[in-house]
């Protein structure tokens, strides 16, 4: 009977399909069950018949649709070339963003592996938030007040007594640090004006600056920070009023500014009536050192502080904060509103839930130990298998090793050869705002399967040897 019923339903639906436009969605199984007074198995069988006849196609999780049988024809979008003009951004997939199959040894990624995330905290925070008001409410443009307060308090807790800590209203919440960088560059620098950056520096910051139409001016920076006199010269020569930097666990070099350089940089910034945009991207990734932001030494509005939770909490919790004071804060808030109106209150509630949970501190301590083990394992692997590579610094935090290769080396070929052998690496060139000053690799030790680090290093060493 079921077979007969299925055929009957299929025949009836065939008439419906003949009258429907290609791509039309069939009623849901549940609705068909009601309409034909048939069981779901019978209805599904009818749909399979229609699928086999090429009349419908089902998209898992979406529904069943009248099959689009249209003559494909080549399109000419040539007219767009004149309308669009030359592009501002490179249309590139950066190495750090690539997703690769599980069987590769992934040393390229910018995101920590799932095993390094506070997965249980995140899941229970989402479950709680699903029941709370944040699921249906709209938060203020600046952010959820309690989350603003948390970011302000985190800075206040390490601010010395002589400095006024920021207040919660100095905090603007963004849907991720990339948006924060974009808006900060646009607000504080603006199209056509110069922005000083460390070289090398985070590729995402270079990208954000390019998008904002900002002119990027590199300042050389070593693993203990830029020399204040180099920075002063760049301010003088370019008339720049802002400097973007990562004083702690710099991406890519893994360096950390020493106290003298930090103090010198702050002084130069103040002298030039300029902003230091401090990107504290690895605040939660300290290994041998707890980073104290430079923002805690300034209450005159010179340091604009960027702090993200995405990498340490979860890639699904796109939450970052920019802490700024005075007119700069007003400017950033206005631009943030123009850019994204407001940030999902539920994501903000989840972020706050995770970082105020007692388990968060426990997680961070365990994370520090895991990162230490992974870092040391990768360093040993590199030393064993790529003996003539040079590691400028053993990073005291962060997620990356910055390895200089002996030259000459054909870096694109090396990256390709390694990929053919199953190891994904990121060429250092992507972190240079101008021409690279050498052949570098950025090797990330927070990816999946650290047990494969030695094999990964061995394969890199072998690919390198082939170029000798």
């Amino acid at each position: 009977m079921s077979d007969d019923s299925s055929s009957r339903i299929a025949a009836d639906l065939r008439d419906w399909i003949a009258a429907a436009p290609p791509g039309a969605q069939l009623p849901a199984t549940r609705a068909l069950v009601t309409r034909y007074a048939a069981g779901p198995v019978t209805v599904q069988k009818a749909l399979r018949i229609l699928t086999a006849q090429g009349l419908v196609e089902s998209r898992p999780g979406v529904g069943t649709f009248v099959r689009t049988v249209r003559a494909a024809r080549p399109h000419d979008y040539g007219w767009q070339t004149a309308a669009l003009g030359a592009p501002r951004n490179r249309v590139t997939l950066f190495s750090a963003l690539r997703t690769v199959p599980n069987d590769r040894i992934a040393l390229h990624s910018g995101y920590p592996d799932r095993e390094l995330l506070p997965e249980r905290l995140v899941r229970s925070a989402f479950a709680r938030a699903a029941r709370g008001d944040a699921a249906v409410n709209r938060p203020p443009s600046g952010g959820l007040p309690d989350l603003q307060a948390w970011f302000a308090t985190e800075l206040a807790a390490v601010t010395p007594a002589g400095v006024m800590p920021p207040s919660p209203s100095d905090v603007v919440i963004f849907p991720g640090s990339q948006s924060g960088l974009n808006t900060t560059f646009q607000s504080l620098v603006g199209s056509g004006r110069p922005l000083l950056v460390e070289s090398p520096t985070y590729w995402g910051a270079i990208l954000a600056a390019t998008r904002a139409g900002v002119r990027v001016v590199p300042v050389p920076s070593g693993t203990d920070g830029p020399r204040p006199e180099d920075l002063a010269r760049a301010f003088r020569q370019t008339g720049a009023r802002a400097f973007y930097a990562q004083p702690h666990f710099t991406n890519p070099t893994g360096g950390q500014w020493n106290p003298e350089r930090s103090a010198g940089v702050l002084e130069v910034v103040r002298e030039h009536g300029a902003f230091l945009i401090e990107d504290d991207w690895a605040h939660d990734f300290g290994i041998d050192s707890v980073p104290i932001p430079l923002a805690t030494r300034d209450d005159a509005g010179h340091v604009v502080y960027l702090r993200s939770l995405t990498k340490s909490v979860s890639p699904s919790v796109r939450i970052a904060a920019v802490v700024a004071r005075g007119p700069a804060r007003e400017r950033i808030l206005a631009d943030a509103q123009a850019e994204s109106m407001y940030v999902s209150g539920l994501l903000q509630a989840v972020a706050l839930d995770v970082v105020t949970h007692p388990g968060w501190r426990t997680h961070l301590r365990a994370l520090g130990r895991q990162l230490a083990g992974r870092r040391d394992l990768l360093i040993t692997a590199v030393r064993d298998h790529i003996p003539d590579a040079h590691l400028a610094v053993v990073p005291r935090g962060g997620l990356n090793l910055w390895v200089r290769l002996p030259e000459p080396v054909d870096l694109p070929r090396l990256v390709r050869d390694c990929e053919d052998d199953g190891v994904i690496i990121a060429p250092g060139d992507e972190w240079f705002p101008a021409e690279p000053t050498g052949a570098f690799l950025r090797l990330n030790y927070s990816g999946p399967n650290p047990g494969a680090f030695p094999e990964g290093a061995r394969l890199i060493g072998r690919a390198l040897a082939r170029q000798r």
Copy 2:
């Protein structure tokens, strides 16, 4: 005993506080319970003692902190004025974004009231997503493939047979339509170049264009759309290559382009080798009419289609899609990546879950009926109490009435007077890219408590009468 224990704990904590920096967070109650082997009530009593002594302050939902007792001193951020230069955006809180207390009659909002949201679907989708992979995974920059497919299929289902529907890869997911507008304007127009817009038009679009540095050129548009010859003249005179418009349930006028104007506009856009940026913001808010996007009539890449789910699903689900083809799509994807890297996969999974749930269609049907009742109630109230106000069109969808007031009228004073009387209204001026062509109010019928609409209209009428 409990009293003694509390005092003892408070005394011990006092020593800790004396050594801690101002603003430092005290260990959580749970941790103190363990440390002092005391009950939570005893610990909380100890914290209350310290609070009463002015040593700590508790921030509900965040924790307890060493009180910040610092000498407040005035700050001079004057140096920032030179560093920042003149602002590009007005630092304004737009009426539609304002949150007001519950006892006001709110006719200003841009967001539907909670009772109009599919709250149960949203909560269960979040609960499901909390258990799934989306809670810890990073999606591709373009979006979750299944969600891209859903947006493409929605358009394909109403695309006539002679037109090639978009493919899933033509869809780029954004964290809300404001981000989509920003990136689209930046990608397709660019800083300093002209963008044609309807006048009046959505204030958020004017704001996004300003942020992108785009020069906004208004084209007059009535409730049945702009006249093609006006549009053609504007393209010729300005050299613009893009036109931003809302053909269905235009915000603010509530109009809907008639078929002749739609066809004429598409033809003018094609002739000028230009883009039509179609903002289908009210796709889910049809009342007497189901909007068929103009995007379904173009497969040559002229129409770039913007579709948001935030207003209809939940303000916490900041998800929108831009559908574009050819180089335009490449350009938009590259800029989206530079702007926000990727959108929370969990929010994308929740959006997909809601719109593919059988309850979504049921919800939309009920929503249409609710909006019809609310719209008619507000129209009757306006006719009864503001008899000399003019309503250009009874909107066949959307959330707003566009009411023209008899002149002369002091609009800012009217808005203030109404607010004093407990009715919040939005002055029409915010929707004009240039000088307003009359005194308008935008009255939203999707706010809380529709039962108060007659009283709201009565108070507006009374405030208006005071100006006669």
